[in-house]
Symmetry: C2
Subunit: 387 residues, 2 copies
């Protein structure tokens, strides 16, 4: 049989032991400042070990003193905290309409951010825009460019690191060209990882939004297209080929090869509204606003959207059994309008009923997911470099 993976696959020696314990202390300090004695009690390490590890971490610039704490009785304790300025991470969201870039310190605090209207005509121009925007953001901040250790970019489609290109990015002409992201990486001068936007949105919502603390949850991204990100045990779940959550491809009406994407995306709401007699220059947003105002055709269109969404959620629940389903993306603003219908329909459809909630981060989910992901790598890199 193939080995199930318990047990270590690396030999341990004293150096790894030390490094591991320093890491343990650093991670503990990220939750709150603490004294040596407190760390010893909480981690199970002895006081001398904590002292010595903390001295190493301080010498490496990874932690610093953070004031004192005077207990009820006895000597005052020196508190330590991670040094947020030990490194910085870049998060980048390449969206349909906006390019967003955020620079965060190792605490996860966003220290600089910019949102640029996406007017690029070609994929090459887009790539250039990403690089210059990122460079400008860092230059405009007080952060030394050399301290930016990692970047993560979110884009529609599935990045294939073997082929150095994005697949399935159907709406973006030229975006699937090989080498595009390699060039971006070179010009950016910072290690760059590419992830699917829905997956990043899920990570963002898990790190900073309503998904916090959930062991298994999904983020359904409804906008121009339809996508889903999955976070299991704190990590994105991407499937065998990176295509997990491509629910636009779900079969949905028994026979025809219509895509669910066409039936549930933001555009579908507009089409449904027109079919129901609404006229004029409609957008998904305007239809939802009309529905909110009680306009009958809009209400019906939104209800239909909710029902189809419920089918989607039911399918996801049957396969994955998530604890929580978060609705977000372009129509995220109006998720509250959909929740009722989705909930009601779900009750009719299946005994498996995950909680359904609206996104807490709105338009920022992808960007914050990119930041959170870059942050993870950045912390690893900084720790490895400085110790």
């Amino acid at each position: 049989m193939t080995s199930s993976d318990n047990g270590p696959d690396q030999p341990w020696n004293q150096q790894r032991l030390r490094s591991s314990n320093e890491r343990l202390l650093l991670e503990r300090l990220r939750t709150a400042p603490a004294s040596r004695a407190q760390l010893a009690r909480e981690t199970g390490l002895s006081k001398p070990t904590v002292s010595s590890a903390l001295a190493s971490l301080e010498a490496a610039g990874l932690v610093r003193e953070a004031g004192h704490h005077t207990p009820e009785r006895g000597r005052a304790a020196v508190l330590y905290t991670p040094d947020p300025a030990a490194g910085y991470a870049l998060g980048i969201d390449i969206g349909r309409a906006w390019l967003r870039v955020a620079l965060a310190d190792l605490d996860g605090t966003v220290v600089a951010r910019t949102d640029v209207r996406n007017k690029a005509r070609s994929s090459a121009a887009m790539a250039d825009l990403v690089v210059t925007t990122a460079h400008r953001l860092v230059a405009g901040s007080a952060v030394p460019p050399a301290d930016v250790v990692h970047a993560v970019v979110g884009t529609p489609g599935v990045y294939d690191p073997e082929a150095h290109r994005v697949r399935y990015a159907l709406h973006l002409p030229g975006w699937g060209r090989a080498g595009l992201f390699d060039r971006m990486r070179d010009e950016l001068g910072v290690p760059l990882a590419v992830h699917n936007d829905a997956n990043l949105a899920a990570v963002g919502e898990h790190a900073f939004g309503v998904g916090a603390g959930s062991r298994l949850f999904v983020y359904v991204m409804i906008g121009t297209g339809l996508g889903m990100g999955i976070v299991a045990d704190g990590r994105p779940f991407t499937g065998a080929s990176g295509a997990a959550g491509e629910i636009g491809f779900l079969p949905w009406n028994g026979r025809e090869p219509d895509t669910l994407e066409d039936a549930v995306s933001g555009d579908a709401v507009v089409r449904a509204a027109r079919a129901l007699g609404m006229t004029g220059p409609l957008t998904a947003k305007s239809v939802f606003e009309s529905a909110r105002a009680g306009q009958a055709a809009a209400v019906t269109a939104v209800r239909q959207e909710g029902e189809r969404l419920a089918h989607t959620v039911a399918a996801v629940a049957a396969v994955l059994d998530p604890e929580l389903v978060v609705l977000g993306g372009g129509v995220g603003h109006s998720a509250d309008l959909l929740l009722q219908t989705v909930g009601d329909t779900l009750r009719r459809l299946t005994p498996l009923r995950p909680k359904v909630a609206a996104s807490a981060l709105g338009e920022d989910a992808v960007l914050l997911g990119a930041v959170a992901t870059a942050l993870g790598t950045a912390r690893d890199v900084v720790f490895a470099q400085r110790t």
Copy 2:
């Protein structure tokens, strides 16, 4: 943000270090016997460390000498191998028609096995049958009962360890009673874990069948009901409440609350055949045999089954993106008849096309999955006890 889980969450000291390295050597030895020098080269540990760890393992009865190997030149090497008799594990499959029990040593070799016709009238009688059959199997083998360290039982439904009972076991009256498995555990006298049968079948197929080496695959179990097991990175993926893979609840025809289970299970094939004019005492197996013989109505019924199955697979592919889909369960014998239709339909439905294959283990998948799962725990337990 909540911490992403890199970094250790336990302090390391010398004892854990030693234990971890012994574990590393033991796991390596499971792949093939090896000498101290070879282990040192392969693991990166030094020769003295390997010697000393191996001495501990031998003293603990976890490994033993296994002959010699004479290299091209130089001194002959003493080979070591895990002692398979250091402990034993029980796998139990409680199926509709058969109760199967297997006893395996730590190598995973089945040393005793029995298949008993399931004629129990009540859940209590069934529980008794399980216990007496297991006891009889162990008594009839040369294995000392005290050396059986763990058991895993597979059953339809989802075991809820909080409530001490099985949920969703709709076809088995009384099977959902609280405390049933607690009593079984007590009378068995061996720690007992309860898992869903489809999940175990997936684990079995991953450990011993066509799923070997697959990073992410699913096992679709088609029989009296319809279920699915998921194995991701070698571990079963059970979802937030243990209901992942309950694809019987997938919505499938747009509107009605028909369950997919009713449409795709073995019984559905029989119903379809009758609707197409077949008469007499039909079973799923007989319909498949008629189809194999070219009987028109049966062929049509099987094709319909294949098409519906393809829809199921397409849905699973869109959500999970597995590398491989294995078809098994009661109709597993006839999976070859379905593969063609499933493949063709899948090509029409979606660009996401996982490999689809027939189960290699047939009726034994659940049992072998239970063995593999029990084995994993048994190895941990034996290692912990003896060191």
